[in-house]
Amino acid sequence: MTVDSYKWLPPSLKGFFANMQIETPPEIPWAPLAKPLSEARIALVTTAGINVRGVEPLFDYEREQTNPGWGDPTYRVLPRDLRQEQVQSGHLHINNDDIDADFNVAFPISRMLELEAAGVIGSLAPTNYSFMGYQPDTTEWRERYAPEVAQRMKDERVDGVLLTPV
């Protein structure tokens, strides 16, 4: 099947996104996996805007409420042994009920641990990451936070990254 990218959008947003002017970058970075998947360390990065309750603060959703053209560009750290009761959600652009019930719908740590145990992947990274996906301006992502997270992953000898926008 061919996925319809606009299937779940209301008609007004469908037109908005379909007609959005985007300048496709002329060059696309390309780093093929240098080892078998069964030996590779994989990290998860989501934009579900979740955090570990009591360890790091919730994303700044209050500022977005007062400034709708702004989205919190920071990130949070999620450990590989994350438990459901630790997860705090608050993304303002989706219904968070199912993430609160089973974070694997957006951040499949449990599935990755099973695949690690089965030998499909070498390992799930010790540290995984959460961003908040509503970013009208990605400057801080590009110039600060994404390079910072990339370096942290390389320091943990990560080979590959699965990214799960919501």
Binding site: M1, T2, V3, D4, Y6, K7, W8, F17, I22, T24, P25, E27, I28, P29, W30, A31, P32, L33, A34, L37, A40, I42, T47, N67, P68, L92, H93, I94, N95, N96, D98, A101, D102, N104, V105, A106, P108, S110, R111, M112, E114, L115, V120, Y134, P136, W141, A146, V149, A150, M153, K154, V158, D159, G160, V161, L162, L163, T164, P165, V166
Partner: protein, 121 residues
Amino acid sequence: MNALARIFEAAGLTTTVINIMPVWGERFGTPRTLGVEFPFGHTCGLSGDAPLQTRVVRAALDLLASSDGPPPIVRHFDEPWPGDFDVWKKAWHPKEPSPIIRVMREQAAARAQQQREGGAT
């Protein structure tokens, strides 16, 4: 998210984005995209449906391990959403409109009001 993938890949990390809107993979120049026709907030499947979540993750990992090129590579997960479309096209939305949607609605209402007043003169 596509910006993150491009920066991670440029740093030497192999990336795959599982995307509900795979069209962005081509338009933003994302190295590898697995499109899923799932409602927003449910990138890896239904709550409590571990087998479906595993199939999505396995498909994304297969793409990650593939040396196919050149980018952008977009594959499509070959399973439809198992839920009812009419239910889920509403269920994924936040309980309250997001701040930017609230503003867009207020602006649309103001434009409509101006048009009505302009038409009355």
